[in-house]
Amino acid sequence: MSTMTSPADGAKPIDVAAATAKLLGATSGNMVTYLQSCVHCGQCAAACHFYQATKDPRHTPALKLRPMLKAHRAKSSPLAWIGLAPALTERDLRETEDLIFDTCTMCGRCTQVCPMGIDVASIVQISRQAYAAAGLGPSDLMAAADASRDKGSPLGLTPEKLEERIEWLADENEVDIPLDKAKADVLLTVSSIETMKYPSSIVAMAKLMNHAGVNWTFSSKGYESTNFGYLAGNTSVARVMIERIVAATAATGAKTVVIPECGHAFGVMRYAAANILGRPLPFEVRHITEYLADLKRQGRLRLKPMADAFTYHDPCQISRRGGATADARYLLDGFATDFREMSPTGNFNWCCGGGGGVQAMGRAADVRHKVFKIKMDQVEATGANTLISACSNCRLTMDESKAHYHWPHEIGSLVEILADHLDDTARPAAAAE
């Protein structure tokens, strides 16, 4: 069944049949509806940051439906019987590889503008599975997926390293960071980016949780919520990553799993996980901004006002595609006295350019930098010096580009500024428990 072809240039062989089979396996009414609905109006280009940054028509999101449409047609259309629906070729896959991986963050802006309402992101997600099955995809993304499976985290954060880190952070910052607590209401997870690059974010989350008197813990059985299996199109790795968190939650008896500042981690765990496992999750999944907003609503979060001017970058998977846009504003309301919305903002905010694993693709760095110019313009228009996000992946993407351009603005994290302004003089909520 598998027809492996080896190109003469010695590149690794591409298994077109495997890609087609993967697509067939993912066939659903939803997918086929999207594939067949595009009217080629081209409006999605205007919404895509990759097109906006490069003005290259190749980056029109509508084109990202093409390979899968072709494969599907070749397998389903009566036209195929009379030879009018050619099969997907190796060349098709090679030529479009970068469209499916490097230049799509699955941010969903194109879906917003699409008059047909086509969810291009979901087709890209299926396409990634097919391309990965064929042996395509950026090696660093694939490696990150493998590392997730083998070491527990894409950046090699093994359970041992996690324990070391937590110990060190707790000591360094004089904060209580529970790990593998036997019984907890809340299982907090990490994104390896935070652990490795922004450890202060872990400390901030711990401070906030402790401040509100939450019975929470990290777990060495399941801690990494960033799912590079999902982003790489490797469903089996995606499943392993989810199962680890499910097991860890079960072990502590937690009813709530809190996802840290990572957009795709939230999107996958909150919405994709149950569908990948094929069963509903036995616990609720909250993003840290949602969870903190819950605490604020319960009166358990007491903050000192913050006067610094700043603006907020909405992570796509949390705002536009996550439904938690309002919670970030709720947290800032009454706390940040000089909060400035950028334009467009909220559900319409531009993507950082690094979502969907693009951040992890070294070869996509150039285009990411180009995309970041959009963000720079947005921020500069607000007059604020500081750019805050609730996603460490966005933050890393933006930090890298900031360095590339020597952009003089500050880039920070929502949980960190909240933790920095905790009012610990009175802790009625904690006292009450």
Binding site: M1, A21, K22, L24, G25, A26, T27, V32, K75, S76, P78, S236
Partner: protein, 359 residues
């Protein structure tokens, strides 16, 4: 029978002046939409012409065409045409009958060989050897061929002769055909209509007499002068059409107010004829003026165009059982395709699973 005297001389003796020719000529020029300057030429040519021998053959018809051309009781200018022609054979109008009548026909053919005009009303049945219509034991087909052989031109009068007409309507039991399907070796003018407008017949004959040739014809062999525009083009109710004011039935407000009859089946837009301008019965009225839509009787197959009261825009195609069947077949085929896809999907998933197990 052709006479040696010119028409002018013949009429002169009856005290008819050249002014009458001039007046008749200006009438014909108007009818045929010729430039006013042509009327002097017509007048001169007519005056010089000799009486034209005409042999009138009636086949599968209802005599309505003859009624139409002879409808007038008092002699009028239009009737001058009968002074211009010598109707040598017309079995309804001529006094003699039987062998004498047929003799008159053959005599006229002999005497005016190559110069006489054959006027035909009625279609010719071809089925079963043409037995469905015979005259003096001769089938219409044979008589037409024989008579037309030495004619100068053939004029098909009425829709039956021009296009097969009502005898030709589905299922055409006699195998009726138009004259032009039989006479292919000489000019044939079609003056359709059920019946044709008398002026269209007399005008065409006058033109033939004056100019010795056929007037300009359209693709269906009809003189453009009478059949160049549709009823709709010249209909006095056209402004109502433009304004979207229609009668929805024959007894509603719109019908009483004389609004456009398009919706109740008027075929005016595709009927080429001069009824709206020449009108009928001495200019008294025409069907639309009398409150009925045009049937399009001057068009081929007018009997079989999906009902006189069906609007022109309505398709003769129907949302019939076949369309339902096509939809059902489509659903069935679609279901099969979906099922096929479902199986391909399961097979792909199973293959992936077994591969994983093997791996």
């Amino acid at each position: 029978m052709r006479e040696d005297k010119t028409l002018a001389q013949a009429l002169e003796s009856r005290g008819v002046s050249r002014r009458a020719f001039l007046k008749y000529a200006s009438y014909v020029a108007t009818l045929m939409a010729l430039p006013p300057s042509a009327s002097r030429v017509i007048a001169e040519e007519l005056a010089k012409a000799r009486r034209q021998s005409v042999i009138w053959l009636s086949f599968q018809e209802c005599t309505g065409c003859t009624e139409s051309i002879t409808r007038s009781m008092s002699p009028t200018l239009e009737d001058l045409i009968f002074d211009f022609i010598s109707l040598d054979y017309h079995h309804t109008l001529q006094a003699v009958s039987g062998a004498a009548a047929e003799h008159a026909r053959t005599e006229a053919m002999k005497a005016n060989k190559g110069k006489y005009i054959v006027v035909v009303d009625g279609s010719v049945p071809l089925k079963d050897g043409g037995v469905y219509s015979t005259i003096a034991g001769i089938t219409n087909l044979d008589m037409l061929k024989e008579t037309a052989k030495d004619a100068f031109a053939v004029v098909s009068v009425g829709t039956c002769a021009a296009f097969g007409g009502i005898p030709h309507a589905n299922p055409n039991p006699t195998g009726a055909v138009a004259i032009s399907e039989i006479i292919t070796d000489k000019p044939v003018v079609n003056i359709p209509g059920c019946p044709p407008i008398p002026e269209a017949m007399t005008g065409t004959l006058a033109y033939l007499l004056s100019f010795g040739k056929l007037p300009e014809l359209d693709a269906k062999g009809r003189p453009l002068a009478f059949f160049g525009e549709t009823i709709h083009d010249r209909c006095y109710r056209r402004p109502f059409y433009e304004r979207g004011m229609f009668a929805n039935s024959f007894d509603d407000e719109g019908a009483r107010k004389g609004w456009c009859l398009y919706k109740v089946g008027c075929k005016g837009p595709i009927a080429y004829n001069a009824c709206a301008t020449l009108k009928w019965n001495g200019g008294a009225s025409f069907p639309i003026q009398s409150g009925h839509g045009c049937l399009g009787c001057s068009e081929p197959g007018f009997w079989d165009k999906g009902g006189f009261y069906e609007p022109l825009a309505a398709a003769t195609a129907k949302l019939d059982i076949g369309v339902g069947a096509a939809a059902v077949a489509g659903v069935a085929a679609g279901a099969a395709a979906a099922e096929l896809m479902r199986r391909k999907k399961s097979a792909a998933v199973d293959a992936a699973n077994s591969k994983k197990k093997d791996g």
